[in-house]
Amino acid sequence: MEHGLQSCHTCGLLSHPAPGAQTGYCPRCDEELHFRKPESLQRTVAFLIAAMACYVPANLLPVMSSTSAAGTESDTILQGVVLLWSPTGWPLSLIVVIASIMIPSAKIAAMLYLVLTVKRGAPRNNAQRVKLYRMVEFIGRWSMVDVFVDTFTVALIQLQPLMVVEPGPGLLFFAAVVVLTMLAVESFDPRLLWDANSPESTVAQVQPQHA
């Protein structure tokens, strides 16, 4: 950006931006080009707030309820983990704890931290912060695991009249947390982490080289 060039988000082609206020398109792949992802921080914050709002019901409402001769029993994510905790099942319940409880909250916290450092223009640790971003990006999809656990438990335990498992209202909120945090990560532009170092290199001051 400080060289007045635009890099294509899709195909990586570097090009001279369109003159004036015209919208430039990538000559190779036809993508609309920007110096930075448009409204990156606003979108990221919006997705994070929505994710935090869903996080509470996701953990308080039951994700599954099972009906058997003994009655109906509803489980939240945490109760599901406790049920799974046994001499043989503990490695798997550890996976669920990490994927369903630790990863979503750590992801929200990490993204909030990154947004805040960009807003404040923190001058240090750029390499560490971009590594944190990549880790969040890489690990985020795994919190989806509980959605699949519940899906297939529900699909399999259809043993009328012995036992039937149904999805609970918490499942929708939990899936929403996973999707919203993934969208927050997608809309964040990691290049902003480096821009904070040189606040003078704003888009307005960039001169197209071929003008």
Partner: protein
């Protein structure tokens, strides 16, 4: 710096240098004459990608982001792997994945059966999400790569190859077969305490599919495709035509 002086002659690389190329919504940006020059997607550091031997990777000088890996026989291998992945995908979605047996009662499910049951139980949004992440995205990820590598078999890959390639990354992000497989294993351990599990052929196909998808991903080199395809602006490749003006 050498890079900057190489990039400059672009302004004189033809008669149309001062008239912008008109795009239907705006204008097309003018490419550099040095295609090996890139800006890191994670930190915007401007650098040149060197020619490295096959197998070697190029990392960003400033932030360490992997920019490119020179892969051996990328297109042919990706083609072979995507054909195999397609075959396994079809098997994995057409035969039962799991069954349970409890007190003489049996129930079977497929991947699609899982989403269908959620839909019937009223969790329609989650059902759509599971369908998207476990069936639609993997299918498109495999299908698009198959078409791309087939299209690249031509001497000058047509532009539609690029249109498909633009969407591969999106479906790769949302294709979660490996996460689903872990979820299935956790569900199995849970259920094994109350019922007998009958693993189906689809379960083993899914294991194979996860391996193939990972291999497909590590063999595919999008940069090679981008360098070969016909450009969106229908202009000849600038590197092939622009005379290198030496001051």
């Amino acid at each position: 710096m050498d890079l900057a002086s190489r990039a400059e002659p672009n302004a004189r690389d033809g008669s149309s240098a001062n008239s912008p190329w008109h795009h239907r919504h705006g204008v097309w940006n003018r490419p550099l004459t040095v295609p090996s020059l890139v800006a890191c997607p994670d930190c915007d550091f401007l650098q040149r990608i060197p020619e490295v031997p096959t197998g070697a990777a190029v990392r960003c000088r400033q932030c360490g982001k992997g920019l490119w890996r020179h892969k051996t026989d990328s297109l042919n291998r990706t083609l072979a792997l995507s054909i195999a992945a397609l075959a396994l995908f079809v098997i994995a979605n057409s035969v039962p994945m799991l069954g349970v047996n409890a007190v003489g009662r049996e129930s079977f499910t497929t991947v699609a059966g899982g989403t269908q049951q959620l839909w019937q139980d009223g969790e329609k949004i989650v059902a759509v999400l599971v369908f998207f992440a476990a069936i639609l995205s993997p299918a498109l990820q495999i299908g698009l790569l198959l078409l791309i590598t087939l299209g690249c078999g031509r001497p000058r890959p047509p532009f539609w190859v690029g249109v498909l390639l633009r969407h591969v990354q999106f479906f790769r992000t949302w294709s979660m077969i490996e996460v689903m497989l872990l979820g299935v294993l956790v569900a199995l351990t849970k259920i094994a305490e109350i019922a007998t599990i009958i693993p189906g052929l689809a379960l083993f196909s899914l294991f194979g599919l996860v391996m193939l998808l990972a291999a497909m991903d590590s063999c595919f080199d999008p940069r090679e495709v981008w360098e070969r395809i016909e450009w969106a602006n229908h202009k000849p490749h600038p590197v092939a035509t622009a005379p290198e003006v030496q001051p």
